[in-house]
Point group: C2
Chain length 165, copies 2
């Protein structure tokens, strides 16, 4: 287990969401008792830079779906999530869903019955402009499908009392 | 979301563990801050009865690994978990780990880099002899691997103050 998740300063509900290898949206729905609303801040197709190509293990210039969303319930933002997905690795039906956006990634994977695994790469406390003045727990992980990286995800969780549920 | 998980009588930490489509052991480790101890109560190979064959979508008489364990931390039992696994569907290395027991299933899948999905079948409140006098939240789910049922699991969580962490 990552040491940062042992900190008593981080509410238990947040530690769980940041520590799961399953769907965060599903955990948030159980926690809040509400359907989670995915709000898309930005979504576009881009050519992979060197850095992104390295992150996704693809070639520079390959097409990547870039998506920035928030996960919300009760008019509260619980997560800011950025995802990078190489288009060439995405099954056709999944691609449509991801690009139409406003649908949680866990739900998309479940709906299309994809068998995957999630590798957590890093968990750390950072500062973020989005949650200004609030410490942020940031984690990075990859969703692996058919032995390739289907998606790289960075989730940012504000560390404050909104998690004391 | 299953309605039973909305009940305010069920501690939030328990609702999360019972609602995840990821590893329960991993969530318990984050919650308790301890390494979870798997204690095997019973483990044996059996021939599938008609009921078990139906549950696992295999033939009657096929060999099945039957495993009953508890997940523990701080000398407290958090989960009683029964699993049924058809031997013929298990990759060789995984088979050895499952039968050697005392290793959490999530950790085994992760270690062998298996891509899977978990389908939750049922969540309900029941009585159980094991947790006598305590209501029990019971859930059943299947772990799917290469489009087949790799494992059927029933987890029982005692509903009491041990979850108020």
């Amino acid at each position: 287990m990552q040491d940062v998740l042992k900190s008593p300063d981080i509410p238990a509900c947040l530690r769980i969401c940041a520590g799961t290898d399953g769907s965060v949206t599903q955990l948030l729905e159980v926690l809040t008792g509400k359907t989670i609303k995915v709000v898309t801040i930005e979504q576009h197709i881009m050519k992979a830079t060197d850095d992104i190509a390295k992150l996704l293990d693809i070639d520079r210039g390959d097409e990547v779906n870039w998506r920035l969303v928030t996960l919300n319930a009760n008019n509260t933002v619980y997560v800011l999530a950025k995802s990078l997905s190489p288009l060439k690795r995405m099954p056709h039906a999944v691609k449509e869903d991801i690009m139409r956006a406003d649908k949680p990634i866990g739900a998309i994977l479940r709906e299309h019955k994809l068998e995957t695994r999630r590798d957590i790469l890093k968990i750390e406390i950072i500062n973020s402009k989005f949650f200004e003045g609030i410490p942020v727990l940031s984690r990075e992980y990859r969703i692996i499908y058919e032995n390739n990286i289907l998606m790289w995800i960075n989730e940012c969780f504000p560390v404050d009392d909104r998690w004391r549920m």
